[in-house]
Structures are given as structure tokens and as C-alpha cells.
């Protein structure tokens, strides 16, 4: 076992402990904090894979924006934190079913796929190549622009909903 394997096991433990904390902790605020721990662990895994850009974007978007909005929403809705709050409702059978099926499908895929490994090292200018690929006509410019139009629609929609009459 070399160093990077050790680091991988450590980071995976962080991700899994965080993920387990999200579902097992009864205090919603702490569950959200565990979610953040899990996100940070994933960004660590990206760094281990030499995908620094992805790691930073993971931190910026998931920890910096999404997780903070989740924490904020929990803080605003006080009702969620009261001891009388039930942590399951009448749909738990369906939820359980979906979760089990999803787990089975994912486990099946994980076992079936022959994971390819790249022998070549990550190129020095990987980030520049990624940027080029996103705006090059014959590569990913269409999905990129469609995604930005989608975000624009969401932005305009949010403004229209929030605007005072």
C-alpha cells in the first residue's frame, strides 16, 4: 500500500462517515453539517485524482452555495427542529422500495462495468484544454450554451416570482 492509497482510504472514510451522519443524525442542523463534511471529502478525492479545478468547483458550489442554502433553510424553518417533529411520514414504504431498487441497480452496474483506467498522466494544461473544449464549435459549445440558457430562464423566473406587485 502506498501513500495515495492510504489517503484514498482516509478520504473515503470521511465521505462515508459524513454520508452516514446525514441519514442517521436526528438533529437536522447537524445532519446538514455532516453533508458538508461529505462534500469536502469528495473534493479531497478530486484532488487525489489531480482534478484540482473540479475539486475547487465542488467546494465553491456544493459547500459554498448549496450546503449553505440548505443550512439556511433549516435555520429559517424552526418547526423542523422541534422534538415533536416526526422523521417519517406515511410514504415511507414507497421511499424504502425506491431506495432499495436504486441501491440494487447501482450495485449491479458497479459490479458489471469493467472500469477503464488511463495509464497516461494528467496533462499540464488540462484546465486550458477543458476551457477550449467548452467553447469549441465541434465539441461542447451546444450543451454549454443550453445550460447557460437554462440558468438564465431560472434567474428570470426567480425575479418574476419574487417581484412585488
Amino acid at each position: 500500500m502506498n501513500v495515495s492509497q492510504g489517503v484514498f482510504i482516509l478520504l473515503s472514510a470521511v465521505v462515508l462517515i459524513g454520508a452516514a451522519g446525514v441519514v442517521l443524525h436526528r438533529n437536522l442542523f447537524r445532519a446538514a453539517l455532516f453533508l458538508i463534511l461529505s462534500f469536502v471529502g469528495v473534493s479531497g478525492l478530486y484532488i487525489l485524482l489531480e482534478a484540482e479545478l473540479l475539486a475547487m468547483v465542488q467546494l465553491l458550489l456544493y459547500v459554498g452555495a448549496i450546503a449553505i442554502l440548505i443550512v439556511f433553510a433549516i435555520m429559517v424553518s424552526r418547526q423542523l427542529m422541534s422534538p415533536q417533529f416526526r422523521d417519517r411520514n406515511e410514504q415511507w414504504v414507497g421511499g424504502l422500495l425506491v431506495a432499495v431498487v436504486l441501491f440494487a441497480v447501482l450495485a449491479f452496474i458497479l459490479l458489471q462495468v469493467n472500469w477503464p483506467t488511463a495509464e497516461a498522466a494528467v496533462p499540464e494544461d488540462a484546465i486550458a484544454q477543458l476551457g477550449q473544449a467548452l467553447v469549441e464549435g465541434d465539441q461542447f459549445v451546444l450543451p454549454f450554451e443550453v445550460a447557460s440558457v437554462l440558468l438564465m430562464v431560472a434567474l428570470v423566473g426567480a425575479v418574476i416570482i419574487a417581484r412585488e406587485k
Binding site: 479545478l53 459547500v63 449553505i68 435555520m75 484546465i127
Partner: protein, 402 residues
Amino acid sequence: MGFWNFVLNFWTELGAWVGNVLSGWGLPPWAVNLIADVLGVLVLVVIGVAAVLIFTPMERKVIARMQDRPGPNRVWPYGLLQAIPDAIKMLTKEDIVPEKADRQLHMLAPILVVIPSLLVYAVLPWGPRIIGQDLNVGVLYIVAISTIHILAVLIAAWGSDNKFALLSAFRVVNQLLAYEVPMILSILAVVLFTKTMSTQGIVEAQTLPYFLVMPIAGFVFLVCALAETNRSPNDLLEADSELVAGYMVEYSGMKFAMFFIAEYVNMFASAILLSTLFLGGYKFFGLENAAPVLTPFIVFGKASFVIFLMLWFRATFPRMRFDHLVGFSWKFLVPLSLVNLILAGIAVKIPVADPRWEPWVQGGVMAIASLVIIAATAWILNRTARKLEGAPALKRIVAAER
């Protein structure tokens, strides 16, 4: 000659000397690297925390002078060592945890608030190759790490179980996220020009300091840095007349001091970042090549100047109202920095035959376009102000004040 060479390249020679001494003890290379890295981390952390001792006296004296009063003057000399008795006072104060507070989260917040502030120092350049780690995503790293600060404030507020602290937490999301957007947009304009996100590369690419090339981005970044470091006039998270002390109201003693330290460490870090992005970092009219030993002092001098500007802001402007503060970001800074970003995108695409003239031609075009935009913005603001002058509501207020 050898002696002068040693003095001029003192920092790199020092690094090589430490490495030689460690290898001389018969340590394997990985242990030498490990010890050298740990020493580097210690130095960076000490620099960050020493900023508190340097800039608290500076802040108190400078603001006192601006407000025409002597300021602290008891602890020799000129009250400059006031920070030491203050620190002793902090250490000896009682550590209070509110009865209904979430004890563990209450403890976690002061730790979590300092960590991101210190992590930022890893990529701030102090000279050519005098840097913790020259990441190729350096600027993005700084932006990503600083968002943990918001989280620490949220945890502090929640863990204190105090209404004022919660109100402050509602503000932190609004204010810090609002000012993050124009900040990233202005950094993006710089990155477009330098074609790299490494902080070292950004300094190397600046033939002209970027505050001359893109004054709009520099201004937007300064205002956002004031808001992000939560300094007056944008210190709405702890506005003492409205929220007592906001999210840190329940903290006492050393835990309060951690928030205080984090504030100054943050302020120093954003001052260094501003001088790296817009003031040419460790470059100073060729002095960095003549005497590399001086580069950390050049960075320190520029950062001190930026901090002086921040103090000047604090002493001059009254605290903004919260809706005005957030509106100022979304309605003024974001459109302005978007325009600046578009200009930068056009300017870097101007074809220049001779690569030696490229930064001058592109920078010149960018600077002229920025001046036009600034003039247009001033004209629009002036026209709006004139319109408001005639508005009935404002007339009533003015009449009542008379």
C-alpha cells in the same frame, strides 16, 4: 560578491540552507521535504496571526488621527504595544457557554472561522518562488476556501441560540453571497488578461499594474473585499447599534478573540490578494530582480497601503442600511463588473503583431474603455440623483430636516 549574492537572495538561500542542514543530519529526502513543508506552514501561520499584532495598533492609531483624537497612548511607545495587554485580558476572561446553546457547535465555530482565513495564505505570493504552494487554480482556491467563512458564521449563530446572532446569520447569507458575485466577476476579468489562475502567474503577467488597466475591476474588488471581510461601513453582521455584536454576541474571552483574529487575518489576506491582482504583487519598478530579498517587504508595504485605504473607508463612511448594501451589490456592482468583463474579453482578443507590445496595446485599449464606462456611469448616477432631487418624497424629507 558571494556575500552580497547571499544577502540579495536571502530567502532562497535560507531555504537551501535549511534543506542542506536537514540532509546533513542523515535524514532521507522525504523526511527533509516533510520537515521543510511543516516549517513553511508554521511560518505562514505565524505571518497571518502576526498581522493581528501589527494591524490592530495601526487601525486604532490611524482612525484616531482621522477622528482628531490621540487614540491609545498609555502602553509604551505611543500606545503601539496596546495589543499585548489586550491579549492578556482576553486570555484571562471567563469562558461562558450559554445554557441553552448547542455546546459542541458553539465550540466548533471559533475554530472553523480561523481555518479558512489561514488556508488562504498557502497561495499568496511573497516573491518569485516564495510562495506556500503555487496552485494552477490559485485564485479559484482562495474564492472556494473563503466560502467556509459563511458556514462558520452560520454555525456560530446557531450554536449560540441567540436572537441577535440568528438575525446576523440571516444577514451573512445575503451580504456575503451578494458580494461574492461581483468579486468573482472582477477576478475573472484579471484571469482573462493573464490567462492563468495561479497567483504567481498573475503577478508575472502584470507588465502594467492592473489597477491602471482595469480600474473598474479594482474598485469593485476593493468594495467587495470591504464587504467580505465584514469591515465598516459594511459590518452589518455585527452592527453594534442594531445587533449588539451579531453572531459573536455570546462569545467571550479567547473564543471571541478567535473571531477577532480571523477578521484581521482575513483583512490582511484580502489586502495581499488585492495587491497581487491589481497592484503588481511583489513587483516594484524592477526592484524584485535587483534585490529579491526585498520582495516580501514590497508585498507587505502594498498590503499595508490597501489596509490604510480600508481604514480610511471605515473612518469616512457611515454604516450602510442593509437593503441599500445588498441592492448596491446587485444593482450597481454586478452590472458594472459584467460590463468590465465583456470589455476585458474584447480587449484580450485584439490582434497585436509584436508580442512585446501586446500587454501595452491591449491594456491601453482596456484602460481607455474603462474610463469611458466610468464617465458614463458617473453621468447616469448624476442624472438619477437630479431626478430624485425633484421627487416629492425626498422634498418632504429635506423640508422636514430644515
